[in-house]
Amino acid sequence: MINEPVVKAPLNWLVGGLLLGLVQILAVAVHKPLGVSTQFAVVDSVAIHKAAPEYADSHPLIGKAEYRRAGYGFWLDVGLIFGAAVAAASVRMLKARTTTVWWRANHGRSPAARLSVCFVAGFLILMGARLAHGCTSGTFASGWAQLSLSALPFTLAMFGFGMAAARITYPKTPEIGR
């Protein structure tokens, strides 16, 4: 449909991977391994504690102390947003966009379908991440860094279903920028 290439990443794979690895090592040295998704439930939980305190206090999950206030993990996610925005600005990648190259190559320019798919995808992603006690950061990346048993079934399920969903959603391949 639309002929445009996927652009290169700012860093090559070796430098980018090394940088991420060093951040993980630093995180394990100073506090605990990286994790992102718990805080979505914590933010929801803090709101529920305000709206329905009796329900929240008796809940087996959000009744726990770590679901009652913003701590280390919450500020990590705030930092993540800040760091990504600063990095994007520094490499001139800070700009409003609604669709992606792979999306336009398969489904054209209309943003409505892309936004609907992304809402549903986000719902499934966090539902799945909480079931698995973590996401691509906590259960996959931090899981393998610590050789956790749970990383193994999680990786198989995530990449297996991820590849299948990608094949169904994006059958056509755009040009990959050199």
Binding site: M93, A121, M127, S137, A141, S148
Partner: protein, 187 residues
């Protein structure tokens, strides 16, 4: 330093690294899941191998702060499958969704709204569904070395060595289209 400030600083480094490495780019993730663009696969492989070796060294020095997730096999498999479907549909995951929203991607922001809805649904169904599922096939907060009664050295050294050799042998080179995305731009 307070733990909130520590978290903010590590998060800043993580968010910047996700963006600069190209993992916070749904086009790079889709290319990887479709096995058409090997940039993200190689980046993730280096990320995992470097952190595995680094955490192993920290542990030998007695400096590692571990946080092992419980291996509740059914919920981990179901969760991985649900997350995988969303990942393959959008090219986002929780960390890269936040990073991409911060970079101005409106679709990522909508996926983040979906994530808050997913977390709310999880909280609401937790007492009825998740508790019982977690109680079956629960191996606890265990590691691969523990469950095989071996040492982490016996896992880390071979995995890191094999991974490094494979990454070296398949490295992108000029004129060889093995990793088109990482080779230099043709004139």
């Amino acid at each position: 330093m307070t733990s909130g400030l520590t978290g903010f600083l590590i998060g800043t480094a993580f968010g910047a690294s996700l963006l600069l490495s190209g993992l916070a780019d749904p086009d790079k993730i889709l290319g990887a899941l479709r096995l058409k663009d090997f940039h993200a696969i190689r980046t993730i492989a280096v990320f995992v191998l470097v952190s595995m070796v680094g955490v192993w060294v920290l542990d030998l020095a007695g400096l590692a702060n571990f946080s092992i997730k419980p291996a509740t096999i059914w919920t981990v498999l179901a969760g991985g499958a649900l997350l995988g479907v969303g990942f393959g549909m959008s090219g986002y995951c929780p960390g890269t969704g936040l990073a991409c929203a911060a970079a101005g991607r409106i679709d990522a922001l909508v996926s983040v709204v979906g994530m808050f809805a997913g977390a709310l649904a999880f909280i609401l169904v937790h007492p009825y569904v998740v508790g019982p599922l977690e109680a079956t096939a629960d191996f606890g907060k265990t590691t691969l070395p523990e469950i095989t009664t071996s040492s982490s050295t016996l896992w880390v050294v071979p995995i890191a060595a094999i991974g490094a050799v494979v990454l070296w042998m398949t490295r992108p080179r000029k004129g060889k289209p093995i990793d088109q995305a990482s080779s230099p731009r043709e004139p």
